[in-house]
Structures are given as C-alpha cells and as structure tokens.
Symmetry: C2
C-alpha cells in the first residue's frame, strides 16, 4: 500500500467559493466572524472573498469591507479571487496573501461561463499574474471542470494537461485541480492530478472536490495516495444545498478532517471548533450544515 502524507494543509474556501453560491445575503460582520471562527479552529489558509463585479456576484459586493473586517492572525494566509486586472487592483489595496485566477479544462464551459476561449481566458490573466508577482503576491490557479463538464461530459486528461501547461506558461505558482461539478471518481481524478504533477511539484498542487455525487472523500483519498497534501474544502459544505436543484456543494471541511484524523494525518485543525464554525454560518443561513460529520457530532452534543 502506498505511504500517505503525514500532514495536509486545508484551504477553507467557505467564505468565498461557498458563500458565493449561497443565494441568501450574508452580512459583512457574519463573514468576518466566520473567518474568525475558522482561524480559531486552526485553519491556516482561508479564501476570503472575490473581487468580481457585484453585478455578477452580489454576495461578494462587500469584498473590501470583509478584508478590512477580518482580524488577521500571523501564520494564516488570506486569499481572494481576482477575475481580471481591475479586480486585482481593487484586491491589492486590501493586502491579500494570495490571489486566485482560474480557467476551465473544457472549452464549452469556458465559453458559457466567461464568454471566451480557454486560451483567451489565460491571456487575460497575464497582466494579473505579472502585477501580483510585482507586488510579491503568490498566484494560485484554479483549473475547473478537470474531470467533467456540464456541457461536454467527460473531460480528458489531455485537455487538463493542456491548460496546466498554459497556466504554468503565464507563471501561475500553484495549480488547483477542481472537479467543479462533482462527477469525478478516484481513478479519473488521479489521472487528472497526475497531469498537473507532470508540470508542478507536489507542494504546489492541490485538489478541489465537490460532493454533488458523494464522491469527494474517495477522490481525496485517491489523491493522498499520489502524495497530494493540499486540499480546498468548505466548512459546513457551504456552496450548495442538497435540497436545491443542481446542488453543487463543495466537500465539507468537517468530513475531510474526520477522515484525516482517522488516517492519522495531521491537519492542525480542531474538529470540534470547526463544527462550531460550521454551525455558526449554518445558523446564519437558517439550515443544518451540509456535512455528515457536523450533523452526527451536533446530534451527539444534544445527547
């Protein structure tokens, strides 16, 4: 059996990727409180907000206010999504530790989602990456639809590798392999991940899985077997409600930490406090956490 990593790093993307996909408006104060609870639970990387047009994503309209409201802790890295140079310039003023740029592995998704080809979307990020590096800011690249696409169906590892190389070509520092619609299964995910690992070192590759079809933990385990030790997760499974049509929730941080605890892999995260953070934001949203671990542990607490 392959040797698994002894520790992993989780990026909680709940405040950004999670809340962005929640319809109900959340106040700036509650967003800052969520970040505070996540860092209290031991998270060292948090994706805080997005500098996208409020016309497209009203939930992120208070991006600068959220960045001003969070109580930063030394040793914690705060990242923000920047879809273009204008967004980057607004973000820069809020002093993020990292920025996130993105591209799809599927042409159809790129066209439908951001109205341009994959190559064009990468071109647009050239000045963003240059500006970020000039400011000493690390650039993470999120590669969406790395296993499947809602329009094209299966996405091949060749398509993934092509976009990985484009990202590498423009100087993206870190490559996140994202199964945006949650259709991945372990061997397909490993195949995509292996293409990323041909061009990026293990320490600069991460996995981002959605639990739409319940496959996320199996996929994360399959990534561990390749040595991957960096994952995006979303507290309380923020980012999609199982009762809503087309639910596309991120894997819940609580479920992932439970698995790592069982595997004896250090995350630096206190599961009980993480459950507290998830219970807080779920309370704000007025529904139970979309995390089986959170539900089971909260039920236990109630005796």
């Amino acid at each position: 059996m392959s040797k698994l990593p002894t520790h992993v790093t989780l990026v909680d993307v709940g405040p950004r990727d999670g809340l962005q996909n929640e319809k109900q408006a959340v106040s700036t104060e509650d967003k800052a409180q969520l970040v505070a609870l996540l860092q209290a639970a031991g998270l060292k990387e948090i994706e805080v907000t997005s500098f996208v047009s409020p016309k497209w994503v009203p939930q992120m309209a208070d991006n600068a206010a959220v960045m001003a409201a969070i109580a930063r802790q030394p040793g914690v890295r705060y990242s923000v999504l920047t879809p273009n140079l204008k967004g980057f310039e607004s973000a820069l003023a809020t002093r993020p530790d990292e920025i996130v740029v993105f591209a799809a592995a599927s042409e159809a998704f790129s066209q439908k989602n951001i109205n341009c080809s994959i190559a064009e979307s990468i071109e647009r990020f050239v000045p963003v990456v240059e500006a970020a590096h000039a400011a000493g800011i690390k650039v993470r690249g999120a590669l969406s639809c790395a296993v499947g696409c809602p329009y094209e169906g299966d996405v091949s590892a060749d398509q993934v590798e092509r976009v990985v190389q484009l990202m590498k070509g423009i100087g993206v520092d870190h490559l996140g392999v994202a199964d945006t619609i949650g259709v991945g299964t372990p061997r397909k995910v490993q195949a995509a991940m292996e293409r990323a690992l041909k061009h990026y070192p293990l320490v600069e590759v991460s996995g981002h899985f959605h639990d739409t079809y319940g496959q996320a933990l199996a996929n994360i385990y399959a990534c561990l077997e390749l040595g991957v030790h960096h994952f995006d997760t979303s507290v309380a499974g923020l980012g999609g409600c199982p009762y809503a049509k087309g639910a596309t929730g991120n894997v819940a941080s609580e479920d992932v930490v439970f698995m790592f605890n069982g595997l004896g892999i250090d995350t630096g995260i206190d599961l009980d406090r993480l459950v507290d953070a998830g219970a807080f934001i779920s309370g704000v949203l007025g529904r139970p956490p979309v995390s089986r671990v959170a539900r089971a542990l909260l039920a236990k607490r109630q005796g």
Copy 2:
C-alpha cells in the same frame, strides 16, 4: 497503483437492514414492490427480511408474508436474517437462498445489543449453521462494530480477527465486515478487512459500511484496493435519516454504483432504474432519498 477488481457484486440490504431502522411502518406490498424494483435494476443479491421477534422489530413482523409476496427471479439470491434457531425454522419454510447470522467485534456492544458475550452469541449460532447447511443453505456472517463501537470506541484488528476465527470455527461460509456506526476511515477499514482475509478467501468476504460520517465510499474504495469485490449497500440510503438524531444510515446503493461506473467496474446494475427503486421507497416513506447521486439525478430529471 493497485489493480482494482473488474466487477463487483452488491447485496442490497435496503429491504431488511434499511427498513428495519426506519420507524414508519411499510406495507408488505410496498416491501415486495421494492424487491421487484431492485431486481429490475439488476441486483442479484437482496437481503429481504429478518426472522426476529416482532416484539423487538415490528417492521419485520410480516417476514413470511414478504417472502411469499416477492416475485423471485432466476439468478437472484434472496437472504434473510436469522437471529436464532427459532427464527431459522420460520425462515426455512420461506425458502431463502442464504441466511445471515451475526456477532459483534465489541464485547460491550454484544452485551448491550443482544445481552450476551461474543462467545455466547457465536455458540448460539452453532445449531443454526448446522441446520442451514443440512438444508443446503449458505450462511453469511455479519461482523458488526468491526472498526468502532458506540460504547468501547476504537475496536482493534485483533478483536476483529478473534471473532472472524470464531465465525469460521462454527462453519460460517461468508464473512461480512461491518462498520455499523460509520466511524471507519480507509486504513482502519483495510486493517480490519485484512484480518478477515487471513481466514476467508476474497470471494467470501464483503464490506458493509454506514455513511454516518460520510466515509463509506472512501472505505469501499480502500477495500477495492485489497481486491474485495462484494459489498452490502442500501437503496436510497435506507436505514437512517440524516435529519434524525443518531442517524446511522447504510451507504446508498446509488452512490456506490456511481463510483463503480466511474471506475469502470461492472456491477450489472442500471443506475437509472436503481434511482427509480430508491425514489419509490422514499416516496413511501415521504422523504427524499438519502443518496447524493439519487438527489442529483432526480433534480436533473426535473430539468
């Protein structure tokens, strides 16, 4: 990377292990209809009912009626749970293909659940196994709490192996390793499974996982890596509702089939018809299926 099995066999335990843990009474007709829909979906092994005292499990009081009502198909195996010789004798008249006996890997669970020691519980099955074999009926042994116990916490692989040997000693033909409370994670499950495989051949070992903490698919994937190709699953995740306190649902058959399809492993099961079966029984119970795959696919059907 280890080579995975090319095909797997699923035992749908929804009609028995699933419904047994659902509070709402289900009619004999609906139970027979569920079995009909499962075999229409391609299931070749179905755990139909339990010959336990109706005093303890009212939901299974119509066991003989259900066995009489199912429309048996050639090539499908119908199993029933028999907790003792009296139960076996009642079961025998209904012509099951297999019977299921059980023991816990945890002394505390054995005492609290069936009020006797593990060794005593095994002793009681001696005449049942003998009678089954005399009637040409195969005996499956379910080893519960194989990873964790609600009273003792962690259960060691040594404890598992001890009970595996006791099962083997009384002639149990097939050994099912069951994570009854869903606390297992991949490496712990592999450790338990390896002890079963020391005493039983691959073809006579199966895994039974609960998804209480969302770990079931990762655990099944970990078992595949050991070559295990026989799993219990429960259509619609019957056997525990995520909204109820102490939910302990079986892994949903739909989620498991989705993973196997993605891995290119043949199950002989039509996922769409399996979703139909789950939608049927969930409708009877008046709630959505506890399966992420079923929910996602049903949402898609609605457009």
